[in-house]
């Protein structure tokens, strides 16, 4: 009788490090999918990541890759700088919604419009996680946060931003897809999307943008499994999953 490993840890994930994420936070799943995509494409030595400001600020401690820490929202600008001087490297950013959709809105729009081959992984959990659950640009109408205690209203706070639809109107991007991490079948699709986003850069196909709907059990005030259900019931109807732009 012998055993075969069906699923185990991917080499880019740092084995002996505890992540600082809250229990059940799907940031860890997104990190793992990025690691798996990099390992499957064999680009670990070429990959350079840009860490954001937000919950994922310590991402460089969890992935065995080269990383640069960017100022809040400026990860795409730093990525362009690296790509300009080292076009042979695979450059990706990993940003949250407070980083990319709020303070970094200008950077991402111009980065997408310039259409160089880069990969952006955008984590949308509809709230500012690291700073304590304030309202983000992506917070849903009616959703409670520490800066909209009775729920977000369109009159007082405006409407949530749909980044994929917004960026898909531009000529620049080659590939835009929205995926979720709330169910195993969604995780498999997210894996394929993130891998394709890196593959596009390896093949020099242009800008790839992946929005990942993620949970924040702590700031949503839900248990991890309930948070996944909440994402299914509330976020996916407003942020529909699917491919918004594909060069093929």
């Amino acid at each position: 009788m012998s055993e075969t490993k069906v699923f185990g840890m991917t080499p880019t994930w740092r084995r002996d490090v505890h992540t600082h994420y809250c229990p059940g936070c799907t940031h860890g799943v997104a990190h793992r999918l990025v690691c798996e995509a990099i390992d499957e494409l064999g680009i670990r030595d070429e990959a350079i990541g840009i860490a954001p400001v937000g919950c994922a600020v310590l991402i460089h401690q969890y992935m065995d890759l080269d990383f640069i820490e960017a100022a809040h929202g400026r990860a795409p600008a730093v990525a362009y700088g690296i790509k300009a001087v080292r076009p042979d490297k695979i450059v990706f950013t990993y940003q949250g919604d407070g980083d990319l959709a709020s303070i970094g809105m200008g950077e991402i729009v111009h980065a997408v419009n310039r259409a160089w081959p880069l990969t952006v992984v955008f984590i949308n959990n509809a709230i500012y996680g690291m700073t304590g659950g304030q309202m983000a640009p992506t917070t849903l109408l009616g959703q409670k946060a520490t800066t909209c205690l009775s729920g977000r209203t369109a009159e007082a706070n405006g409407y949530p931003v749909r980044m994929c639809e917004l960026l898909a109107t531009l000529e620049g991007p080659a590939y835009i897809e929205r995926v979720a991490l709330s169910k195993p079948q969604h995780i498999l699709k997210a894996k394929a999307a993130i891998k394709k986003a890196f593959e596009n850069q390896v093949n020099n196909k242009g800008f790839s943008f992946i929005e990942v709907l993620s949970t924040c059990p702590t700031n949503w005030g839900l248990r991890p499994v309930e948070a996944c259900q909440w994402l299914e019931e509330n976020m996916i109807p407003y942020y529909p999953l699917g491919v918004f732009k594909d060069f093929e």
Binding site: E3, K5, F7, W13, V29, P184, I187
Partner: protein, 71 residues
């Protein structure tokens, strides 16, 4: 159907329960032991694992390794 086994790196588990909810055969549970960080780690408490790997794909902390037992 394939037989399998789940190995848990107990020290790194945060007791979120996503694997327990995802397992199609319901062979996982949150154990009564406590790890050095104060969480109760997940464990496989009965036979019936089919080595599908869904628990490991759902785990945010990469604590699960799934083996298929070849006979």
């Amino acid at each position: 159907m394939a037989k399998g086994r789940v190995e848990v790196r107990e020290e790194f588990c945060k007791s979120c329960g996503l694997c327990v909810a995802a397992c199609p055969k319901k062979v996982l549970r949150i154990s009564d032991s406590i790890n050095p960080r104060g969480y109760r780690p997940a464990e496989q408490f009965q036979d019936g694992c089919i080595a599908c790997g869904i628990c490991a794909r759902t785990c945010p902390d990469v604590v699960l390794t799934v083996y298929r037992i070849d006979e």
